[in-house]
Each structure stands twice: as structure tokens, then as C-alpha cells.
Symmetry: C2
Subunit: 400 residues, 2 copies
């Protein structure tokens, strides 16, 4: 088969002149590469986050594929049977839809930086979103390369699955973004790792990885590589920048002069998180008025949300928020892993302004969020899951 001319195939771009058009309401944290999040109030307003409002996280210009019939996914490395698969073939595999939340490890970094400066894109609390991802299971695709379900190693010694993009990243000296997950994770069908070609029932768009991205539910967004060119089963973990020199968790005492990247493992599952989406920090409310609160809560690793607590008096007393029903998929089963957030609300709460409002959540393994950002401060500003706090002010005093 003739793969067609070079320019019709999936390829990265060097410049920013062919970026897709984007929602004007996005808050842009970096223009080139394009990193943006929606207003946090939008997140709490619908269970699924629209493609337009879903945060965009990029390390270079958005790759382009002009003719989808030319696309080939290469599955190679330490596998019994290296293959090259067309998009049509991948679409002919059993299709799964997983409702899964993706969260950037840098979500809420700006709050952490306010305590003490950290390095990284300055994200608010909206570098997170939930979509219905449709695609083939990675475990099924690997089977076509001869790797069985529940494999910890291939006969060729492969133990990690590296997913390679086709973009050009500064941090990789112009090489592509890449990441790996353990082979056992990739080959466990219940882990629901997808090669997604659909987002919320529509063709995945360029900003989110067209034609094919990986979605690793329950894991920091950094492993859900977009614009996939190849899948390489390897003996070792991905040696790329984002797996080895980024997205690791250091204690507060480690700084840029004493950091030892090899001392830590790459982050995978994220811990329990919760955020007040509405009202927002700095809202003005007359003392004694009733306020409706909305937000999200989520835990990684398939853990669900057991409880959401709210305080309108800076932690002296607590109320329980109402957890809204989750979107049910066909495969919904409360004993299966829970990959998606829980939206919550608490209505008509009397507030005495000025006040500090706090939210914190508990996951199904009884894990809690740290009370103070100081406990988990880290130089890269990842996984800020400290209690989310907003200030509500009284109206300016009217002079008689």
C-alpha cells in the first residue's frame, strides 16, 4: 500500500501558524506552546467537559494529519510480533468508552507558588476535565503484537510500554513527547487504558490528540500521550525528560541545587483532590446571605470519592456536601475502578462575611487531603492537593 505523500501523513510542526482555533474564554497560561484552562466555574456546570473547555497542555505546535487513510500506528520493540496498524483496523477492534478524568499534575500549581515560588506552567484549579473517551483498549492492540493480557514481561524481556508522540518538544531537544507505563498496567483489560479516537462521541480533535491518543485513567495527565506515532515495548522505563526529569514528587526540603532525579519514581496515580468551582475566590456576599457552593472531587488509581466536607468558618465547623449522581456508562459497576470525578453541591449555606471557605474530600480508601500546602510543597509544584480555600468578602461598607 502506498502511504501517500509525506505531507499527508501525521507529522509534527515547527511553527505555530497552523494551530487549531480555540475557545475565546480559555485562560491562556502560555501561548506558544499553547497551555490553557477554562474558567473554573465552568467545570462544575456539567459532568462531561466539552472539548472546547477541556484544558489544553502542549509542549510544541499541534501536529497535523491531512489524510487519515495514511495513518499507521507502529507497535514494536520487545514484542513477539511487531505490527503496523491502520486507523481503520484500530477502529475495527472492540470499542470501549471510558468516562475518565484527566488531571494535569500541575493543577493548582499557582496556589502552591503563592506560598513559595515553584517552576512550571502557572495553572489555576481547572487543569482538569472529564470526558467520555472512545477507542480500542491498549491491551487488545498489544495482543495483536503477540503480548497476552496480564503480562508483566514479554519473552523478549519487555516490561514497559512507551508511547511516543510526533510533536517537537523543546525539553526533548526537538524530539517527541513520550512516556511509559508498566507492561502489566497496559495489558490489564480492567485498567481501561485506551487508544482513543473519540472524545465525547465526536472525532478526537487536534488539540486533544487527533488521530489517536492514549488515555490512562486514574493517572496524571502527563502519561496520556497525544498524536501517537508508535508504541515501543521496552526493557526499561521511558528515559525521556518527562518521565525522568519531571513529574516526580520531591519533599519540601529538596531544591534545584540538591535535586537527585534518580532518587524518585515517576508519578502515576494521583491522590485525592477537591476544588470549589463556584463561588470563586474573592466573591462578595452580604453577611447572613445564603450561598450555593459547587465543585469537583476526584481520586486517582480507580478510587472513588467517599465524602466531601465544606467549612464556611475556616475549618471550625464542617458540613457535608451532596455528591451528585455520576454519569453511568454501560459498564457501570460500583465494584469496578472509578475513573471519573464526583461533582458536588451544597446549597443555601448561610455565610457570615468576610470568611474563608474550605473544601476537602475523602476517597474510598479513606485517604484525605493535606490541610496545609506547606506539608507537600515541592519545587516542581506538582500535585497540589492541599485543602482548597477561597475568601468571601462582605460588600464595601456603605457610608450613611
Amino acid at each position: 500500500m502506498d502511504p501517500g505523500p509525506e505531507e499527508l501523513r501525521l507529522h509534527g510542526l515547527r511553527g505555530y501558524d497552523q494551530e487549531p482555533s480555540r475557545n475565546k474564554t480559555l485562560i491562556i497560561n502560555s501561548k506558544e506552546p499553547f497551555n490553557a484552562e477554562p474558567p473554573v466555574s465552568i467545570l462544575g456546570s456539567s459532568y462531561l467537559t466539552s472539548e472546547d473547555n477541556f484544558y489544553k497542555r502542549n509542549h510544541g505546535p499541534i501536529p497535523i494529519l491531512r489524510d487519515p487513510t495514511t495513518y499507521k500506528l507502529v507497535v514494536t520493540g520487545d514484542v513477539p510480533n511487531p505490527v503496523s496498524l491502520s486507523l481503520d483496523f484500530i477502529k475495527s477492534l472492540p470499542k470501549y468508552t471510558a468516562v475518565a478524568t484527566l488531571q494535569c499534575a500541575g493543577n493548582r500549581r499557582t496556589e502552591m507558588s503563592m506560598r513559595r515560588k515553584v517552576r512550571g506552567v502557572g495553572w489555576g484549579a481547572a487543569a482538569i476535565g472529564t470526558a467520555a473517551w472512545g477507542g480500542a483498549k491498549l491491551s487488545d492492540v498489544l495482543k495483536h503484537a503477540g503480548v497476552m493480557y496480564y503480562s508483566t514481561a514479554t519473552n523478549q524481556g519487555g516490561r514497559h510500554v512507551e508511547i511516543v508522540s510526533c510533536d517537537f518538544c523543546k525539553e526533548e531537544n526537538g524530539g517527541p513527547y513520550k512516556a511509559s507505563i508498566p507492561l502489566l498496567h497496559a495489558t490489564t483489560p480492567e485498567a481501561d487504558v485506551l487508544l482513543a479516537y473519540e472524545m465525547n462521541g465526536k472525532v478526537l480533535n487536534r488539540d486533544h490528540g487527533y488521530p489517536l491518543r492514549i488515555v490512562v485513567p486514574g493517572v496524571i495527565g502527563a502519561r496520556s500521550v497525544k498524536w501517537i506515532e508508535s508504541i515501543v515495548v521496552s526493557k526499561t522505563e521511558c528515559q525521556g525528560f518527562f518521565q525522568q526529569k519531571d513529574y516526580k514528587m520531591f519533599p519540601p526540603r529538596v531544591d534545584w541545587d540538591n535535586i537527585d532525579w534518580q532518587s524518585r519514581r515517576p508519578l502515576m496515580d494521583f491522590p485525592v483532590q477537591s476544588v470549589i468551582c463556584e463561588p470563586q475566590d474573592g466573591a462578595v456576599v452580604k453577611s447572613g446571605d445564603l450561598v450555593d457552593f459547587y465543585g469537583y472531587a476526584v481520586a486517582g488509581g480507580g478510587r472513588g470519592i467517599e465524602r466531601v466536607d465544606i467549612s464556611v468558618d475556616n475549618g471550625k465547623t464542617w458540613l457535608e456536601a451532596h455528591r451528585l449522581p455520576k454519569l453511568q456508562t454501560n459498564a457501570y459497576d460500583s465494584h469496578r475502578p472509578d475513573w471519573a470525578w464526583t461533582l458536588w453541591e451544597l446549597k443555601s449555606v448561610k455565610v457570615e462575611t468576610p470568611c474563608t471557605v474550605i473544601v476537602k474530600a475523602v476517597d474510598t480508601a479513606a485517604n484525605v487531603q493535606p490541610a496545609d500546602v506547606d506539608e507537600i510543597w515541592n519545587l516542581r509544584g506538582v500535585l497540589n492537593t492541599s485543602w482548597h480555600k477561597i475568601r468571601i468578602h462582605g460588600p464595601p461598607e456603605s457610608k450613611l
Copy 2:
């Protein structure tokens, strides 16, 4: 086959005159039923906890089985093929050894009660232990009853696996202790749920469940039922006392007059925990002396320990403890779930007495422990995983 006379078979006892003999160094929290833990300093001294030192948690007299050839495990309920299995048959199934930590949900309850009184057996920090459990996988036993691996439901509508003991519990009005886990958990081979007949290479003794107990790795000890008489696959969760009216997590504001047991799910996975085993609270050290610290850290749900932090100045500065190598089993693989604790040490730390020493751990999903017991206080005193603190005093002032 003649099952033999009644008194030779597995049966509960009404009185405490046939209790097994026990280690004299155990700290007895309740004599009848026998509830006891070892001195916490012993836990840090070896990776596997001996049967003698392993905490004992009971709700009635210890059952007895005089002739093991009479034993039958009944597997029944909503299964295609109810069966009754001899001990020899269970031993003929593939044998697995899982090194797994069991932790009572009430571990460290006494510390919680010191803040505000809670109800329950007053455990110190040693209601935990790690053993090499040998036995058949529950998933294999269920297969003999016609239930396939990875089942969420049987054709008969079974979705839960209830494990029933043969003891007489006050809380069950003289009925047996029982608990359930979801069918999917029970039928997932990688969850390593065992029907154990061995502990640390020896025949399981009476205190720990002879002839057969269940071991549910990563889950609170309350689900690892001892002296099993039957396994009943059911449409609903176990309706027993310990599943429905105990071992649930409530927020600090819930008290005995406003508790709604139905509002919460039974606890399963436990959250990240760590304890200083040596020195102990109240130790006396000359200011400026060097001290060696030892302890354990563990997380439920198969999560491992990523880091252990120690402070000898009440949290102002932190040091990282050295995580000791874990016991490797044949099946050791860093990508498989981690069911057992991590022992840690930090040697030759200069302490300025008097001082407060704190330990806290981070698990592989970046979950942290709550700083203050007030954040997680609950009326039943379960899952006290707040930062563990001990006081080290200076020697009494010598008068010149």
C-alpha cells in the same frame, strides 16, 4: 464419607477454658474475648511478624477442630455449582504465598481516644503485623463452584462473597463473625485473596484461624475472617454487624445520637500509615546524644511506600528515613500490587531533648497522612493514620 463425630469437627466454643497458650509479653487489651498486641518495639525488629507476636483480634472463644480430616469448606449461595471441599482438596489446589500486612482498623485507637473518647478496644500502635500467608487463591476455590475469574456477577445474581466463621460473637447475638468482599475482588487472581492454611511456613495456629482463614491483602483486618465454615455468594453485601454497624468511617461531627450507619460504605482498603517503633514515647535521652529510629510504614490497596519523613524538632525540619529492603517472594515484581509494609530506619540522629519526634509517610499514589488527629477523629476510632508523634525527654536534672 463419614464426617466423624460432632466434637471432632470445626466448632465454636461457648467458654474460655480451651484457649490456646499465648506469649506472656503480649499487651492484653481484653482478656475474654482475647485481644492483644505485642510491644511495638518488636514489630520493627523483623520483616515477618512471628505468630506469637502477631496481634490477636477475637470476638469470642477460639474455635476448635480436633480432627482435620472431618473439615469441610462449604461454598454455596448464588453459584452455578455449590460444593463442599475437604482440607486436602484445598491443599491440592495451586499454592500461593503472599507476604501481606494485616492491620486492624482500630490500630492506634488509644491515641485518638486521648484527644476525645472513642468506643472500641484500646489498641496501641501494634495491632498490625506482616506474615507470609500460604494457601489457595479464593479465585481458584470459587472456580470449583463454577464462578469464573474476573466475575462481577454470577448467573444466579451473586455479586458479593460472604465469608462465615464458626465462632460465637456477642455482637451477632451468639452468631458467627462474618464479612463480605465484592465478587470482582474475590475472583481477580491478582488481588491475591487467599484461603490460608499456613502462616510463616507453619500450619496456621488456632489464634490465627486454624484450619482455614481468609487473607484479604491491602484491606482492613476485619475482612480477613478466621475459622471459616462457609463461603456464601450473595446478591447483597453481608448484612452482619461488623459489615453494617461497625468498621465504617464517619466525620468528626457524627456522634452516637445522630449516627446513620446506612449512610456510609464498609471500609475496605486502608490509607497510608507510619509509626515509630523505637525509641518509644517517653524515652529519656541526654540532649545532644545520637539516637537510632526504627519503624514501619504501610499503605492499603496494593500501594507501596514512596517516602518516610522524620522530624526531631516537632515538624520544623525533616529528614528522610532509609527504607529497608523488602522480603522478596518468588512472584516479586515492582509492578504488582504491594501488600506488605516497609520497615524503615534512621540512625545516629542528634536530638536536643526534650523534643517531639514525628513520622509521616507518602504512598506511591502520593497520598499523605493527616497532620492532626482532629481532622479524622471518628466515634469508632478507626483508621487513626495521623502523624505519629513521640516525646523524648531529657534526663532528670542532676543537682550539684
